[in-house]
Subunit: 315 residues, 3 copies
């Protein structure tokens, strides 16, 4: 594997999940793999889980991690070609990407969607320009349209918790006061499309995600109906894709409650975190025994580590 910017960069999701589960039993078994190599973690946005788990994964592989908050510590980047750079942007990504590659063996990037320019977000200008110009492997730590490290951690977590060979998995929208990106939902869907599962997406009408991503995945506008007999309920808010970046609904009808969870097959509650309690999900659900959100967070380390292992082996 060269880059990991999409779940489909994996040769085999199934095999990767198995390898991660195996790795987790002895997380230091590849401690020498990253020796004398450097990963540069560039954050264009805030981060808690990704920041810590990716550093932890690097450390487990003996890989030196340099962390940089690009926004506050570096220079504002220009991404367009041929521009007369006489405004606020002082460095072009062409130089920045090539320069960073002089000091790193791998570059990891977090760059959220703008939610204002759909075309630029879809074009993944940060990730794609770093792939184009840096010449080194690029790791997606959540980009405009995807969060494949999260999706892999989710797949590991479902593998560890599944009780049937073909579980029913629901991705449910839930309310949120702010406009959030589509990245986590997109990558979860792409990951589920690689799984043998009864997968269904539920959200209010008007909240349809990019059809190039949902493809033939089932959509059910009745949340309660979707929850029936579910083994896993994966919850996430996103803003409108059609009315790009708009919040069209924020009342609590779609909040995840214990009553709704009763409709499931003793279903597990999943969320990538951070989560707003009693807005997205009621305390009674996230605090229940069926909540596996902390296990998901824990698997972020192994998701990053197995991916970094594959990248290092290919260097």
């Amino acid at each position: 594997m060269q880059h990991y910017t999409n779940i489909n960069d994996l040769d085999s999701l199934k095999k990767t999940v198995e390898e991660a589960v195996e790795l987790k039993k002895n997380e230091l078994q590849f401690k020498n793999l990253g020796k004398d190599k450097t990963i540069c973690l560039l954050f264009f946005n805030n981060s808690l889980r990704t920041r810590l788990s990716t550093q932890k994964a690097a450390q487990n592989l003996g890989l030196n991690a340099i962390v940089m908050n690009f926004g506050s510590e570096g220079w504002e980047l220009e991404f367009d070609d041929g521009v007369v750079m006489n405004k606020n942007k002082s460095e072009h990504v062409k130089e920045a990407a090539k320069v960073i590659a002089q000091y790193s063996d791998i570059v990891a990037i977090r760059a959220f969607a703008s939610l204002t320019d759909k075309e630029k977000d879809k074009a993944e200008i940060v990730i794609e320009n770093f792939k184009k110009y840096s010449g080194i492997p690029v790791l997606n730590m959540e980009s405009a349209t995807g969060h494949p490290l999260q999706a892999l951690a989710d797949a590991i977590t479902m593998e560890e918790n599944k009780v049937s060979h073909k579980p029913k998995v629901v991705l449910s929208w839930a309310p949120h006061p702010k406009a959030l990106p589509h990245a986590v939902a997109n990558s979860f869907i792409e990951m589920m499309q690689l799984q043998d599962a009864d997968f269904i997406i539920t959200h209010p009408e008007g909240y349809e995600l990019d059809s190039e991503i949902t493809k033939n995945s089932k959509i059910e506008y009745n949340q309660k109906k979707a929850f029936e007999n579910a083994d896993f309920v994966y919850v996430k808010n996103w803003s409108s894709f059609k009315e790009y970046g708009e919040v069209m609904k924020s009342d609590s009808d779609w909040m995840i409650t214990a009553d709704k969870m009763k409709l499931t097959n003793n279903g597990k509650f999943m969320h990538c975190l951070p989560v707003r309690r009693n807005v997205v999900v009621a305390d009674e659900v996230i605090d229940s025994e069926n909540s596996i959100v902390i296990q998901q967070a824990n698997n972020r380390t192994y998701s990053a580590q197995i991916v970094l292992k594959k990248i290092l082996e290919n260097l």
Copy 2:
């Protein structure tokens, strides 16, 4: 020792000071103790000494340190239970603490007093919630009401400088233009209450600290009288505890001057730093041979290191 959030978490202050003095002679003697373990340093506030000395201490123990400025790099935390989180706070400490513990063996936290909500400050909501939810050892890098790493460094420094078995030690308030927390003064007092010393606190009337902390410690409102024959003068500003967080006096009457130091028994001048020269203390005092503020700062490394050693041995 599980947590170190208060000087009283130490089994024995006396023994710990002796161990620290011993450790200082060969600071790398426990270089393998922290191997393949991680400490996460979370800063909710600025820091110079604590930031650098705790990283240095971790490094001396072979412990991997991950530093995070929680305010600017992470998500704003909610600490209250049962809240509908539809305002500016996007993650609850319940999740944050549990998640951080997935990637760390020890979590160190700096979270200053608000100085606006006395009850929440006294409840130590950040430290206590991390103790409650993280399930891993918590190290206090200055909390709302205490700075026990500083107090331990102070004890080490006094041990190295004492000329009598029962020294006279004065904690003196000094003026400052801004409202400062009580944490350093509190921990110094709690530490002194464990020592065999003639200990006295001096401050203007109205600047009484929390009586649950000062307990039976002597208070003398006449600064000059307090200084008489002192072996150590420990200086610190704090805002009013009664009129919580207010600055009631900022003129220079209480500034530490050479004239006042002449009243002492060739007393040493101590301060935790940063210090405002010619406001808190005159240049002539802090620049004198009797000033041991840099030695105090140096001992911050050994204070953190002996505490981390004890925590690591107990993991």
Copy 3:
């Protein structure tokens, strides 16, 4: 070598360049030199190349690097003596420098020119105070008046690209919308004054640099004439030195174009980066085969590493 705050701190530029070229062939050959030692990197300003390359250089030497953004993470520093510190500055450099030296073996500092106070900038108050008070080696990561790590990287890059024993080297001013410091130009000039080269500086009238630095270096106000037969064209904007910090000219007359490069002897284009495309230099030039800006950035690692090696050997 004790400190490296100016290119003239090197015993021999020529020998150092040769050593760096040799080091680059096997960058890990001195991996044990920095073992159990710490360098503290203090940033008072933003940085990309310096931040990453200095960390990389430290890692290549086995040296532990602690990075601190002084402005946002620490306390605002006072540099003047005898001040009553009752305003916004909460720590004096006397304490800060001594304290940092308690936790570090080397301190590296980035502190740009104010461009408002010429005397203080010329006095290099940050670097000089750290040299005076810290008692440990100080590494200049770009100060008010110099950027000697960049100049050394430039010397290495010219050595790797030179086709004649005495190349013609032009330092050319170019336009920029913002007021920039003189540091890079100053250090490049000081470095060139140590070289056997035909060196010429070209800039619009009124943009003369500090004559104490340019000394007898040739100045040519006609940019095209200066470019004739040049082997290296080193480009940099700076604000006026005489009208201190002012931007007197920002039209595109002085931008580096392919037409101007045609006047050279197949000359190499150099710039320290970040660079504003189509303001400082046309895309056609920086994207050409004769552009060696990325190689310059790469050599920042070896510039820092050879300097740190010399400092470590002298500890």
